[in-house]
């Protein structure tokens, strides 16, 4: 109870009511939506979840990672590989997967922070590690090489082995997204969260007043990588296949960053709002581009939308939207 009170402290009651209504709506949504609607909602929740995970590192601690596909891909490959080769169920494998990704995050983070790489330089280091891993997996037989790793598609629902239809994966990703949301709120309210914001605003000043900068950054990258690995495991068992070309692709990394940037960096609702906007636009553009019969049309619409958003709402949609709604979650 004390924890709940701490988390909800200072949140207006109508915002809590709105959140409650949203949660109930998401819980009953599968009963109301068709197959297509559910698949879109799954996509939204997935991007909201990985966006939240990425946001911890960039939005809270101010470290720009453009290589998060590394953690998602590693998580997915580890859990799927253990299941495929040794029959180890994903509920056990997920621990190994998260540990592997967190370790990878710790290595990248330690090297980057220790050698005080910042901004673009740090971002390039994350890209380089992700690309390096992609090429390594391309040539690694255990992981299926460039031919990919496939899980047997099974229509019977078996929760213990994460075999089942969209409904199972919907509730899983919903649980993850809700969990990440609560975790991020708790983190922001903690001492660690305040340290992160101090580092984001001015690392040198934070260091000067005694914030353990290196340790705080390390915790950020480890938590962020671990959560991203969860998304990777979910992804691997939902789609039943993994290719280095896509799992570790730079496009995948960029995809992860878009929802929080578009939604509002460093805010709790930013990743969610961004995921809704981007997934929604993506679906609309898929339909719209069918009239043109031109390759790349969907992406052209998408690029135009990104351009318009970054020009007119460079700080993200949510801070502006919240202001309009009078809720006013300021960027903490």
């Amino acid at each position: 109870m004390k924890l709940i009170r701490r988390l909800t402290d200072g949140v207006p009651s109508r915002a809590l009511w709105a959140l409650g209504v949203l949660l109930v709506a998401l819980l009953v949504a599968p009963a109301l939506l068709g197959k297509y609607g559910l698949s879109v909602l799954i996509l939204i929740l997935y991007f909201a979840f990985v966006g939240q995970a990425w946001n911890i590192m960039m939005g809270f601690a101010g470290q720009l990672s453009l290589g998060h596909a590394l953690y998602a891909g590693l998580g997915g490959y580890v859990a799927a590989g253990l299941f495929f080769h040794y029959g180890l169920g994903p509920w056990a494998g997920v621990f190994v997967a998260v540990a592997a990704a967190a370790a990878a995050g710790a290595i990248v983070g330690y090297l980057g922070f220790r050698f005080s790489l910042a901004g673009v330089y740090f971002a390039l280091l994350t890209i380089a590690f992700s690309e390096f891993t992609r090429l390594a997996f391309d040539h690694w037989e255990w992981a299926g090489g460039s031919g990919g790793l496939f899980l047997k598609v099974d229509s019977t629902v078996d929760v213990w082995n994460l075999r089942g239809g969209p409904l199972l994966f919907y509730y899983l990703i919903l649980a993850l997204a809700v969990g990440a949301f609560i975790l991020c709120r708790a983190l922001l309210e903690s001492r660690l969260g305040r340290y992160w914001l101090a580092i984001r605003e001015d690392a040198e000043a934070a260091q000067a007043v005694g914030v353990p900068v290196l340790r705080c950054k390390m915790i950020a990258v480890v938590i962020s990588a671990g959560l991203t690995a969860l998304a990777g495991v979910w992804n691997a068992f939902y789609y039943n296949n993994l290719f280095p070309e896509t799992a570790f692709a730079m496009g995948r990394s960029i995809e992860i960053t878009l929802a929080p940037i578009i939604g509002g960096l460093g805010t709790l609702f930013g990743p969610m709002v961004g995921a809704v906007v981007l997934t929604g636009l993506g679906e609309v553009f898929t339909d719209a581009s069918e009239y043109f019969h031109v390759p790349g049309m969907k992406q052209i619409f998408y690029g135009l939308a990104l351009l318009v958003i970054v020009i007119y709402r460079p700080a993200g949609i949510w801070p502006w939207l919240a202001g309009r709604l009078g809720i006013g979650e300021r960027r903490p």
Binding site: A128, A136, H139, G296, I311
Partner: protein, 293 residues
Amino acid sequence: MTSDFLLSLAQAVSKGLLTGMVYGLMALGLSVIFGVMRVVNFAHGEIMVVGMYLAWMGFEYLQVSPMLSLPVIAALFFAAGYALQRTLISPFIGRPEHQQFLLLLAVAILLVNGCLAIAGPDSRSIQMESQFDSYDLGPLVFDAVRLHAALAAVAIAGLLWLFFTRTRTGKSIRAAADNNMGALVVGLDVRRLYAFTFGVGAACVGAAGALMITIIPVTPFLAAEYTLLAFVIVIVGGLGSMTGALMGGLLIGVSEAVAGLLLQPSLKSMVSFGILILVLLLRPQGLFGKSGA
């Protein structure tokens, strides 16, 4: 170590050096833009791919060789880069990096899919009469097209060096890069200089595209790879350093060629990324960059 092996190694190194000169020209554009206005051009490879397509179209539809269309493409890209900086990028200078990243990502998506919409997904290449000509130097054989492309790249880099050291505009740009406030105080029109710089950077990479199409076929999907490659080169050489960009290009060109020979061709970029990681950790200012820059 047989002499056969040494010969093929020397052959790979010389081929890598020639390709590396074109890489260097491409990276030079990125380096100039970053060095002057601290904007990271995430659409760099995409701009080059547009240049490759333009040169291909000139050859395919107008029968103009890429060497002749190069000046036209460079001029067009200068104008387009100037306009792009003036309209879209200018407000983003000094903004947080993730905003610049998103802006240029959007530009990149538009460029690459514009190419896809117009030219389709197929790989396009140029078949010139001189395609199979070669020059022999002792036991080594040099492809004529590759050699010409490399020489042109070096010549353009030389012109650029003259521009930055001998002309008034070039010197002003360097002044604005060294000390923005000082440049404003002495009355330089920094906004115009920035637009000029972006134009020069775009012209460089457009020219590199016109040369690249003579040695490598183009598809829209290559764009992101070239952006990454350009980044690897300038970081290895030293962001903002002209010599560094050229030397980085040579180093990466040679390492790719040698890795293709000794390991597998598909592992060649792994070596480049390995070099990048090492340089970032051990000498983040790059091999030729000034420390503290």
